[in-house]
Amino acid sequence: MASDSANLPGGKITFLLFLALVNFSFTIGIHNDNFSEELYVKPFSSGHVMFHFQFTTVWNVSIDKPESFQHYHLFPKSLGDVLTTYKVKELHLSQTQGLWKHEKWGYPPEDAPPGDELWVWFQPHSGVDQTWADLVNALSGLFCASLNFMDSKSTVQPRWSFRPAGLASEFYSADSRFVRYSTLPREVVCTENLTPWKKLLPCGSKIGLASLLNSVKIYDGFYHSLGVHVRSVCQDTQCLTPATELKQTLTVVYDPTTNKNGKQDWSFQSMFDRTLQSQCPLADTRKIYVDVTTQETFPKFSLSPVPDFVLNQKRSGEERKIAVYQIGNHLFASSLNLKAMYEEKLTFSNSSLPPVYANRFVTGYGLERGGVTCMIYNTMSSNTTVIFMETVPWFLRVYFSSLRIENDGKEIKPYKINFIPAKDRANPYQMELVFRLFANSVTKITYSFERAFLKWTEYPPDANHGFYVSSAVVSTVLPVASQYTATSQSVSLLEESFSDSSSSFFLRLHTETLLVSLPTPDFSMPYNVICLACTVVAIAFGSLHNLTTRDFTASDPSKRKGLVAKLKSFFKKEKESPENKLDSKEEETPSQKDKDNSKSEEKDSKEKDGNSET
């Protein structure tokens, strides 16, 4: 902007010069943000390879002061406007396809459940529910996702599981009135979500690490997860003034062994169908890290080009070797095509299990009742306390009385329980349990539910596919960093968390989503059902109306004819009625033979009299 106005041709040079100077000084003052792009590659012993892209923008203005969100430079304005309009303090959005396999892959840098997950801390204000409803609609447009379906039916206010990840006062972070959490387990994530995500990057998608993000290849992977995380962080180590951090992550897991003749070879070219041509000039940090801890063990592999240096990461006893590439150092001659060449074919072996992991599944048969079982494994030799959170849609009526936590056949009493029962078509079941996991044991959480019968309009188009139940969330603090790859909460960059010296690691796990079938009505016959049910009501109404409004009278049984006779007489009457009338008038004394006729005549006249009276 400053250069634009300075380059303008014109006569009033002095004025423009002045303007340029003002602008320049202004821009210097405002460009208090920095951007970094990082890629973390980690091969797993299962043959899969993870690529984790992390783009971090830190802007030295406080998110608590919306008026300071004015002069955007690196921070995306589209997102900034949404954050300030809807009084957001912290926002975490993940859009994931596939399931992260904790037993095989350890912990991901950003744990995310299948589908979409959004949790937001709002600035303290009244009417958070309305703000949330507006926010999800705005984000829905911004990220091209069905976030607008995160209505009260799927939104909860977790008390313990989702505390602010960034700077927040103790008092504020204990107040669950300002947090909203919701998931869309059925959401399909695809290119249309990646494009708006890439647009938030300061360098766009044509330059820098983001140019590797070829959607054709990314959506070919085993697992991919997009993340947008906004939080408050410290500007410096003294932490006197807050800054706003926007962290965009993309995790993708490939299985190169399938088309590499059983070898785990990977390269940018084979994984993304592209090589890295450029680096983002706006970024301060531009680095690629490759986990080479297993490089020397079987199967051996070599990297090309050779890394700038290898970092020995020590995180609470867990030692890892990280090969570091400064992107700028490898772009002089040609484009960078990072490659790993394995000497041998992959042999499958049991990988070491992570300290805590969980599995969850549905039990029972039939479409009436069922249950959910969640197994939480603790492979550490020490006890640990976990928070288990579960959100169940209202149409699975969870019986709180059936909730059991068992460890080795013994029932465990949770320290704390937060159970909020569902209201039909209004809010879901919310369950938060705090309990202890014993060392080297499996803890089983079970509860049973009853399936509700929905209205025919409440079923999705493919009703017999079933309904998804969002992942359970297990939160804990680990004493060891075994298989832990997430950035620590106190820092922004991956680089900084490699030299992390803390002794406790916050872990959040998401279990599998569940697919539950509900009994379905026959969708094809609403009219028939309405007609039949109304007919039965009409039978009752008609009979009771008849019986209560009419009296018994004596009548001649010979006049009562069968249906055929009635029909005959009906048609005869139509033909002969004028003749009959004439006959009866002519004959003054009716003979025995014509008795019937005269009787009916009498009755007719009576009726006529009655009618005339009324």
């Binding site: 048969y365 039939g366 479409l367 009436e368 009742r369 209202w394 009526r397 019986y399 709180f400 009385s401 329980i417 159970f419 909020i420 029962p421 569902a422 209201k423 039909d424 078509r425 509700a452 019968f453 929905l454 209205k455 025919w456 309009t457 009994p519 379905t520 009505p521 026959d522 016959m525 609403p526 059902v529 309405i530 039949l532 049910a533 039965v536 009501v537 039978i539 009752a540 109404f541 009979s543 009771l544 109306h545 008849n546 019986l547 209560t548 409004t549 009419r550 009296d551 018994f552 009278t553 004596a554 009548s555 001649d556 049984p557 010979s558 009562r560 008795k595």
Partner: protein, 439 residues
């Protein structure tokens, strides 16, 4: 007939106790025909579990009992499962005792009424009159109809909380027959407090109260008559208001109102049962839902007006007919209501001979009762049938109930006609006339 009555009563109790030892109770307590969301023991226990945890049972959508029931059930649930089973047998014994008393009082009541109105009867109607001996047998028939009634047994075994409702309705009827109209009105209010619909039963109680105090040929629209109606209505609504107020004080808020009466009126739970609501509102178009809910709810109570006018001389029968229409058309009907109908049916033994299609109705009841669980199994578990199969059974069951109710009303009215006009009707030419309904 005292001995057979006692034997059948004891047999009924032993039968229930024996069946409680089988696996039948577990099976029955999940059957949607037997227990409804309103009367399910499992749901009541869930509500209590929440209550004990400090969570309001009315904040969820599983528990729909009234606060007073919460208190009572909370007391019962403290016992061991076997004792709870015994308590439910005991509740059935209480029901049986009240039924015996009702049968006894009913006989006396009918003879008294006959004595006062016999002067209006046709001389030929002598043989149609009730005799003391016939009425003595009533106790036996009522006991048999209750002790061996599969619907009552199923309700007891499933530990449906409908038995509380039934006991209170029976008490209301008993007090009405005894002449304690005000007490009866209080019981009606209590029944209305538990399940809302019985509020219309205050109409027969009011009419009965007026008939008892009637002097001479006072008309039904006479100011004195209106005053006596208002007295009963006043007692009913006052006691209902007091109960609601106490409930509010007990629970601490009015949130139980939408969770109990709102639940009955709005029909948000579409669990299948043998009523008309569930599938109708599953398949209803969203635009017309409110309209049809109004229509169906009005349909439950609208019969009060024509029946009250037509049966103004017979408040006991009016009471029974209203109970029947509630049982058919309420939003969550269960076997508890059907059981009550059948237990009281022998009271109208003298009407049976005038009914027309008992055979068809009985066959329909049998077929539906047998087929309902089968069709439900095929739909929900086997997956080889769909909702329409069960819907057909529920429609047929409702139709059977409707046929039975209208047939009984028809028989009753026909008998009344014979009493007043004699059963021999000759046309002017000397041939036999036929009695038909005419406008």
């Amino acid at each position: 007939m005292v001995l057979p009555t006692a034997i059948s009563f004891v047999c009924g109790v032993i039968l229930r106790l024996a069946l409680f030892r089988s696996s039948l109770p577990d099976w029955l307590s999940t059957k949607t025909e037997v227990v409804t969301p309103l009367t399910s023991w499992g749901r009541a226990m869930e509500g209590l579990a929440l209550h004990r945890e400090g969570i309001s049972p009315y904040s969820g959508d599983i528990f729909h009992e009234s606060p007073l029931m919460l208190k009572i059930l909370g007391f019962i649930s403290r016992f061991s499962p076997n004792t709870i089973n015994l308590i439910f047998v005991l509740l059935d014994i209480i029901q049986g005792m009240i039924l015996l008393r009702i049968a006894n009082t009913f006989g006396r009541h009918m003879l008294l009424r006959q004595a006062t109105s016999v002067k209006n009867y046709h001389p030929d109607a002598k043989k149609n009159l009730l005799r003391k001996e016939d009425l003595m047998d009533l106790q036996f028939y009522v006991t048999v109809a209750f002790s061996f009634n599969p619907y009552s047994i199923a309700t007891c075994l499933a530990r449906s909380t409908a038995v509380f409702n039934n006991i209170i309705i029976l008490l209301a009827l008993y007090q009405m027959l005894k002449g304690n109209s005000f007490l009866s009105a209080v019981f009606v209010a209590l029944a209305a407090y538990i399940s809302m619909y019985p509020i219309i039963l205050c109409v027969p109680v009011a009419v009965h109260y007026f008939l008892m105090s009637r002097k001479g040929g006072m008309h039904y629209t006479d100011p004195t008559a209106v005053v006596s109606y208002l007295q009963i209505l006043g007692v009913t609504f006052m006691s209902l208001a007091i109960m609601l107020l106490f409930s509010m004080l007990f629970v601490g808020s009015w949130e139980f109102i939408p969770s109990t009466y709102g639940f009955i009126l709005g029909v948000p739970d579409l669990t299948p049962n043998l009523g008309l609501f569930w599938y109708f509102f599953t398949e209803m178009f969203e635009h017309f839902r409110t309209f049809f809910i109004c229509v169906f709810q009005i349909n439950v109570v609208i019969y009060t007006i024509p029946l009250a006018i037509r049966l103004r001389e017979h408040p006991t029968f009016l009471f029974y007919m209203l109970l029947y229409t509630i049982g058919i058309f309420k939003s969550y009907p269960g076997y508890g209501d059907v059981g009550l109908m059948f237990a009281l049916l022998p009271l109208w033994k003298h009407v049976y001979q005038y009914m027309r299609n008992t055979f068809v109705t009985v066959c329909m009841f049998l077929v539906c009762t047998v087929f309902a669980p089968i069709q439900y199994y095929l739909w929900i578990y086997a997956g080889s049938a769909n909702a329409n199969f069960y819907f057909a059974i529920s429609l047929a069951f409702s139709t059977a109930q409707i046929l039975m109710a209208t047939d009984l009303l028809f028989g009753f009215l026909k008998r009344e006609f014979y009493l007043h006009n004699g059963d021999k009707h000759k046309l002017p030419d000397g041939t036999d006339a036929q009695i038909i309904l005419d406008s």
